[in-house]
Every structure is written in C-alpha cells, then in structure tokens.
Symmetry: C2
Subunit: 339 residues, 2 copies
C-alpha cells in the first residue's frame, strides 16, 4: 500500500542505463536512439512514472504553480474568477494554489509569505477590505514573483491590474433607473478606499449629473451585505425618506433590499426599483429576478492568468504595469420598470 514513488533512477537501474539517458529519452532528445527511447517510455508507462515537479521546480528555480489570494471563496463572484483562473492555468500546465484571507489583513500578509515559501510562479490577488498598504505584495515582486491584481485594487499600486469598468457599469445601472422613471435613487456602496467602491460611487454620481438630478447625501450609504441592506432599507422606508430606486454595489445587497421592500408590503419595481452588480447565480433566483450588471468574473480570471503568463514568458527586467479594463453589460430583468 504505502509505496515510494517511482523515480528516474528506478527506470535507469532496471534498464541498466544512466539517469541522464532516461531523462533525455523522456523528453525526446534527438541524441537518444529510438530503441532506448522506446524502452524507457514503455517502462515509465508500466511503472506509472510521474516526474517529481518538486525536484523540477527546485532545479530550474521556478514552479508551475499559480497562487491565488482572495477574500472569501464562498462568494459566487470569486468562485467564478477562480474557475476561469483554474481552467486557463490547467490548459497551460499550471496548477492553482488558493488561499483565502477571510478579509483579514494579517492573514493576507501571511498568505503572501506562504506564496514566497512555495516559490510560486506568480500570484493573482484580490485584496481584503481591510488592506490599506501593499508592501507585502511589493516583497513578492522584489523576489521575482509577479503579482497581478483583479477586481479589488487600489490606485496606489503600481502593478498589473484587471478590473471591470465599474464607473461605466454603475453609470449604466443608474442611468437605466432614471430612464425608467426613478428620481430618488439611493446608493448602497462599499468602502471608498477600494477602487470598486469609489468608481461605482462616481458612476452613480455621474448618471445623476448627466440627467440633471440633484445629489442627495441622505440617500448615499456604506452598506454592502445582505443583513445591512435589509436593516437599512427597512429603516429608510419607515423614516419617510423613501427612495424610488436603489443601486446596490452587489447582488446580495440588492436582494437584501428587495426582500425588505417586499416584507414591508411594497412592490418591486412599482414602488421601488432595484439594480444590483455582479450578475451572480442568485440574481435569477429572486422574485422578481434582479436587474444587474454583468461583471464577467470568469473572463476576469482568464485575463489575469494571461497577463501573468505573458510576463512569465517575456521575463523582461523592466516591466511597465498594465491595467486591463473589462466592459460591463446591463442585464435587464424584472426588478426595474419597463423603459
């Protein structure tokens, strides 16, 4: 049962040749005779030989592992990003090591150390809500491990980034609310030190501005999860400061609001229209189904991997950080009125 794994030496010994010959035969080196190659490959097959990537990585000081650091795995958006990462990584012979920070800064820092220790080829990261300084990622770069950020990024980082066009997405959402008759539109947003928070907020403001609707600070909130949204919405409606539209920073928050509205006997979208952001699985499950912004998580993951692999291939000394922006799409469902 408990067996040592087969090595190149085992094959060499059994065939009475040297390890180097086996190594060369295995990678179809032109110098090796056809018979030797045949013998080696057959025996390797028979013994179920698998190259030890640890040794390989050690030898060439570069592994075939992509590290991924994310706040929380259970969010549908992050799972779709990772799904995209994994599929493309797999197609290119890379494996994926994941680590969730659970929104803790300490753990995030720790995970970067693990990545360093593991000598991963590169790291893809979406920072925790608490992260305000980025030295730990600079350390990775300083050690020759390229870092690509996605979704949750910060302006200060001079590194590769993949983001969705949050400004434009938010603009589309709010503009649509206005076009369908809403005039008092609330915004449930997230921390402003995350660019997604700031950009979605600005998109919201810009849509109001473009449509000559005055900004009402009493309708703008930091509120980015289900429970908060339920609580806030209930309070808002009862207070008499009721909006006729809500643009939420993500789907979960939007659905929290939606349920609170219905719970109080009001109708969506007739009394209050609601738009989310992400277009996750849940956005079709609510009643009514949620109008939202498609955030292309899967593609985002793939693009992040592509940027990383490009950098790995080029291996240039100087690298000019690039920022890739992915277009969003407005997905109209039934939580908003007809145009």
């Amino acid at each position: 049962m408990k067996g040592r794994q087969v090595t190149i030496k085992d094959i060499a010994a059994e065939l009475g040749i040297s390890a180097s010959t086996v190594s060369r035969a295995l990678k179809d080196h032109p110098d090796i005779s056809v018979e030797t190659k045949k013998a080696v490959n057959e025996l390797a097959e028979k013994l179920n030989y698998k190259p030890n990537v640890l040794a390989l990585s050690l030898r060439q000081s570069r592994s075939k592992i992509i590290g991924v650091i994310i706040p929380e795995l259970i969010h549908h958006f992050f799972s779709s990003v990772i799904s995209g990462i994994d599929d493309l990584a797999y197609a290119n012979g890379y494996s994926v090591m994941i680590a969730q920070s659970n929104e803790s800064f300490e753990r995030e820092v720790n995970e970067t150390q693990v990545m360093l220790s593991s000598r991963v080829a590169g790291v893809l990261v979406s920072v925790s809500k608490k992260t305000k300084n980025f030295e730990h990622f600079q350390v990775l770069e300083d050690n020759g491990i390229p870092v690509v950020f996605f979704d949750r990024v910060s302006k200060e980082m001079k590194m590769d980034k993949v983001v969705v066009d949050d400004f434009d997405g938010a603009f589309k959402a709010v503009d649509y609310l206005i076009k369908t008759g809403c005039k008092r539109i609330a915004h449930y947003g997230t921390s402003m030190h995350l660019l997604i928070g700031k950009n979605r907020h600005n998109g919201y403001l810009h849509a109001l501005f473009k449509n000559n609707i005055p900004i009402d600070d009493s309708l703008i909130f930091k509120c980015d999860d289900y429970d908060e949204a339920w609580y806030l919405t209930e309070k808002l409606i009862k207070s008499g400061n009721m909006p006729d539209g809500i643009f939420a920073v993500n789907d979960i928050t939007a659905i929290g609001a939606l349920q609170a509205v219905k719970h109080l006997g009001l109708r969506v979208p007739e009394d209050i229209s609601i738009v989310g952001f992400t277009n996750g699985r849940i956005s079709t499950m609510s009643d009514p189904p949620l109008t939202t912004i498609e955030q292309h998580g899967y593609e985002m993951g793939q693009i992040a991997v592509r940027i990383l692999l490009n950098r790995l291939e080029k291996d240039e000394e100087e690298h000019e950080p690039e920022t890739r922006v992915i277009k969003t799409d407005l997905i109209v469902r039934e939580s908003t009125k007809q145009i």
Copy 2:
C-alpha cells in the same frame, strides 16, 4: 526588481558561518550558541528570508500541500467545503491546491496525475458525475498519497469517506412534506451510481413507506439542475399529473421547480410544496424562501482535512478505511405548509 530569493547560503556567507549552522539556528537547535542564533535570526529577518518549501519537500519526500479535486468550484456547496478545508489546512500549516474536473472524467484522471507529480501530502476529492471507476485514486494510494472522499462517493471505494446522512436528510424532508398534508410527492433526483443519488432516493421511498403512501413511479425523475427542473415541472403540471409536493436533490433544482410553478400561476406552498437539499445561500433568496436540508459543507471540509491529517501523522502501514457520517438538519422556511 527581478530578484533571486534569499537562501540559507546567503545568510551563511554574510555571517561567515556554514549553511548547516544557519539551518540549525533557524530551527532553534539546542547545540547552537545564543549569539549565533540571534545573529542568524536578525539577518534572516532583515533579508526577508523564507525557507524554500520546494527544497524542504524534496528533502523529506513529503510536501505540505493538500490537493482538492472537485467537480465545479462555482457551486456554493463546494465553495463552502473548500472554505472549510482551507481554513483548517491553513491552521495546520498546509496549503491547498485545487483542481476542478468540470464533471469530466478525463480531466479528473488528469488531475490525479498532477497531484502525483506535485507529491501532495494527500488528496480530498468529490468525484465527477461521470466517474464510474476509481483506479486513478487507487494509484494515488499505491504511491503513498492518502485519499479522502467527500459528499460524492461510491460504495465500491474502500477508502476514507465523509458524507452527509443523505438517507436521513431525504427522509426528514419527505416526512415533513407528508406531515404538512402532501400526498403526491415527486422526487427530482440525480444519478443513481452516486451514493447521494441512491441514498436520497431511498430516504424518499422510506418516508412514503412509513406513512403508508404508495410509491408512484410516474413521480420519480432524474432531474438535477435548474433548467431541467423548470422544464420538467412545467410539463408535469400541464400533463395533469400534478404533484402536491416536490423533493429535489438540491436547492438549485428546487428553485427551478419553484419558479416554474409560480410561472404557471400556481402558488407555493398552497398548491405545491417544495423542499430542496443543501441550504446554500440561494435558499433564502427565493420567494418564498426555500425549506431545505442543511448539508454542513464547511464542517464536511474540516472533517475531511482532520481525517487526512490523522492518517498523515500516524503513518501506519495498514489502514482501516473509515466513513464519517454528518447529521443533517431540516430547515423549515416558507416553501412548505405549516404543520
């Protein structure tokens, strides 16, 4: 920018001592003098030295990586399992490598090869729907890599398993439907070669039997996703063979059915009661919220890790496979009638 990583040699050279002394100092070996330890640790800190786990793993022929193979990352249930895995692995100094089979048998086999190549410490797996033979996992065991299965398991595998009590969960669900007045209860199930399919099916049958309700084969279906459920439910209702209760093998399927029912102008639960299985995020998002079975994904992940770590520690030659069964809970919401 592009820097080599700091090694034990660098520290040794800078301090004019040998590599082994540095190594020992770093792990607080009693033989080493206090001053040397101090000097080494300070320099290590200063140079931001991180041990190369590749070299370490190679040396002791065992890595600190846990491999995880799952069908699809984007399912909420699997993300919660992985979340549990990652948290406990992290707490024990392990990293997690994930690989999704995307329900493809070939890819699953391939991923086991990757795990072999990577010399992971152990592998946790939930098999794809298509997997009917398990040799590739036996190969892992034969190479000294312990395998622990979770959720999707098969009877034939003589290995460690963690499952939920599917039979009892299904029984509770259907029994509750009956107690709340349902008499014609349909079952939307998954492949019978997966134990979860068979056990949930049997739990369904047993509840009918216990309550003296005859089995009606025209109400039993293989139907395990959202679109299938919508289509099937619509057909069923229109055909006149309408059930008054539906027990679905997972939440998504249940919600597909729920939406179809509402779409046809019928009411849930008054006309048709619906129960799902999993208690994922979405089960609270539907309207009405879904009565379902809590499947304890996060705990399942943790238990799987614990079993694995135990085996790793004991390192016994002979190992008696163990099967851990996790109790389920019925979560009553509003897609079923009052008792």
